[in-house]
Amino acid sequence: MPSATVNNHRPRELLSLLASADPEIKVRALREVKNQIIGNRTKKLSFLKIGAVPAVSGILADSVDNVIDSNCNNDNINNILVQSAAALGSFACGFDAGVHAVVDAGAFPNLFRLLGSSNEKVVDAGARALRMIYQSKLAPKYDFLQQKNMEFLISLLNSNNENVNGLGASIITHSCETSLEQKALFDAGILRKLNGLLEGGSLSQRDASLESLATIFKNNPEIISKFSGPEIGRPLSSVIDLAKDRYPRTRLLACMCLIVIRNTSPLFLQDIGIKTKLIHILLELLDDSGQVGDEAPFAFSSLIAQKEDLQELALEANAIDKLLHHLQKGSLHPRRYEGILLALADMCSKMESCRSKFLSLQVLNLVTDALTDDSADVRTAACICLKSVTRSIKNLSAGYFMDEVIVIPLVRLFLDPSTSVQVAALGAVSNIVVDFTTRKSIFVQCGGMKQLVQLAKSMESAVRSNALWALKNFVFLSDNRLKESVFSELTACLLASLICDPEPSVQEQALALVRNLIDGCINSIEFAFAEDGLILAAIGRQLQSASKAEIGIQGMYALCNVASGNEFHKEAVMHQLFPLMDDKNQSFMMKFLQSNDSQLRAATVWAILNLTCPLSPGASGRLEKLRNAGIFSQMKNMVNDPCVDVKLRVRTVLGQSMAFGNN
């Protein structure tokens, strides 16, 4: 243990001691730097600011040539190498700015050179330092595809030194990304070596091996099937056994490896027993008070996300109760808080039974509390959790979520400095405003509607399109008074420009919003005609150049809705469909009718149906025009459309047209 007198120097003093010519003073200074910065982020930062890393790196560089000299038994040199490596490792440990500084200072290659020393302590120090750097995403990428690099990696894994072969595994975990790299590692026999560490290694080697294996398996079903094949023994069962190991970190890493295997190759690990086991192990790991417990909910999420069968099993295992129980503890580490909220979000993402369970526990406040947390990641996770829970149509219908306690903190997040928080809050609000009761005014009263309109003008396209999404849902089936207030806040001019926004997703949401505005009582159609028909003209313009089917669908439904009005409205739609008197150009309608997208075909046929509705005085004139444009010939080709909905509408239109005589 360092004595009490050692850590007394201030950073600047230590910096000048590091520059001393006396090796013993240098070593003591290095040791003191290391002792001061270990586990102390603030200290790391202050040393960083005064250039400590280049200084230590320089010391390492000056002494590293001696590593090659195998007769070097100079204790001082070895101590300098060990302490400088240890100090650099500490700077990098869990501190990205430190990693950055170490790499920038050129220390990285020199640390690798330490591995060639005949002195075990020097090798250890180098390997440990490099392992700490490789924990960070900022570590330089290792190029496995170069032959000599692969050979070097193999030599690391072959080493008897635990830190050195652990370094080999860390490099794989950090740098293996593409399937090409995965294959190269497989071809070089790396899996066999890792499996050896898995079965015969120490705790640290097993853990490192589990992480590396997961990296090599990820999204690569071919390698997984080779690993699980007969040639390499029965390694899959080794991993399964390790999921029951007595060390929590090993259990977690083994679970994560199995989850990667399962998500990549759904044929494996299908047994309901193993699925249930994984769920139980991960839920139990939540009890760990350290980093393992912080990471466990993320592993749980990756197991159940998008998979109803697993969510169902987890529901039976009381996952929701357990997650909420941990949430209730309070004072959670931000990473754990975020993880639990996201795990709950995944549990409630698809199944009403899960959402019902969650809501029945009456602890929504635990989630709304997180909306005001200091961490942006936690606030985002809370919004995502609310977004999942508010998919409950039953409860939306009952107006359960349109409550100030939920709405007000969410609306506050519209002004959050983090864009991802804003977008996540908009997501939750988009669902909540689908409210069928008369309580929508709560949202207006708390300023939410006005805020949404402001956000529709944001520089960020994701914010614009999500704000419009929320507004679209808000005006769905709303009374005219509410629609008027939204429209006067938005203005026809802004809405028209959003319809023609550079971003397709914004165009789509703006058109869908218009579609909803003009549905309902017949007076609502007038919104499309405000300011000399700005909006109607924008719709027509956008449909000419619709870049994706969804834009066509929303735009055509908007026109369809206008065309369900009176003669004036129907003629106005015709003008958008056929802008020029002598229209030689193929109308976009023809293109839409021939689209592969059945919804687009359906929307277009509905518009035609409305335009040729026999009870309208001008229907025959419109029919004639559509016929001349070849629309009816096209529709005759669609009487047996593969989509039943389209087929039925086409037949209705053609049947309707019979009322006008021969066609």
Partner: protein, 214 residues
């Protein structure tokens, strides 16, 4: 991470949530926001009576065979105002639900007795008798069969003198949006008929709005 769920009124879901190929087709007329109006015949031996009924679809999740909405009954003698209930529907899609109810005091015999009152059901009867219709391919069927169960009263108390203990066997026509149904409740008059048509709410044509859940 959770991803976006699309609950749109137009047929078929966003790719990735398309129902299996034997399920009934999605239909624009049976989608969120759509409204229907007509009557429910509540005649008993004592007297002839019919209530005007308005229905609105509020939720639709084809992947899970789920539908929900409100039903508004007008000119109900015991009530001062129209009575509104919230109902949830099961779509007979051979995947989530079959023609056999399996609950709500309805036996397979009760099921058959009711379904056969719909002419459009008759071609399906023989298969239903074998396996409840599990192996039927309904993907080209222009009718959608459902059960609607009222869950609670929205605007009146449970002491209003009305019951929502039973449920409706429902047949929806995709071509014109008409709905026929029979109310089943062992404690009420049998075969009370529900007849609804798709409404245009004063418009000269059809109008569609939608919402999308995130």
């Amino acid at each position: 991470m959770p991803v976006r769920v699309a609950e749109i009124s137009a047929p078929s879901q966003v790719s990735g949530t398309i129902s299996r190929h034997t399920s009934p087709p999605a239909c624009t007329l049976l989608s969120v926001g759509q409204a229907f109006s007509g009557t429910q015949n509540v005649s008993s031996i004592q007297k002839e009576e019919a209530w005007r009924v308005n229905v609105r679809i509020q939720g639709c999740d084809l992947e899970h065979g789920y539908l929900c909405g409100t039903m508004e009954a007008l000119n109900v003698p015991m009530a001062d105002t129209p009575v509104v209930t919230f109902w949830e529907g099961e779509i007979v899609d051979t995947k989530n639900y079959t023609f056999f109810t399996g609950k709500w005091d309805a036996s397979p015999e009760d099921d058959k007795r009711h379904w056969t009152k719909f002419p459009s059901f008759l071609p399906l009867l023989s298969q239903v008798e074998i396996d409840g219709g599990k192996s039927l391919d309904l993907s080209n069927c222009p009718y959608i069969f459902m059960r609607w169960k009222e869950q609670y009263f929205v605007n009146v108390g449970t002491d209003c003198g009305l019951t929502i203990a039973g449920f409706y066997y429902v047949c929806f026509s995709c071509s014109d949006g008409s709905i026929n149904g029979f109310y089943y409740d062992p404690n009420s008059s049998p075969f009370q008929k529900l007849e609804l048509k798709s409404t245009n709410e004063g418009r000269s044509g059809f109008s569609f709005s939608s919402y999308e859940l995130q």
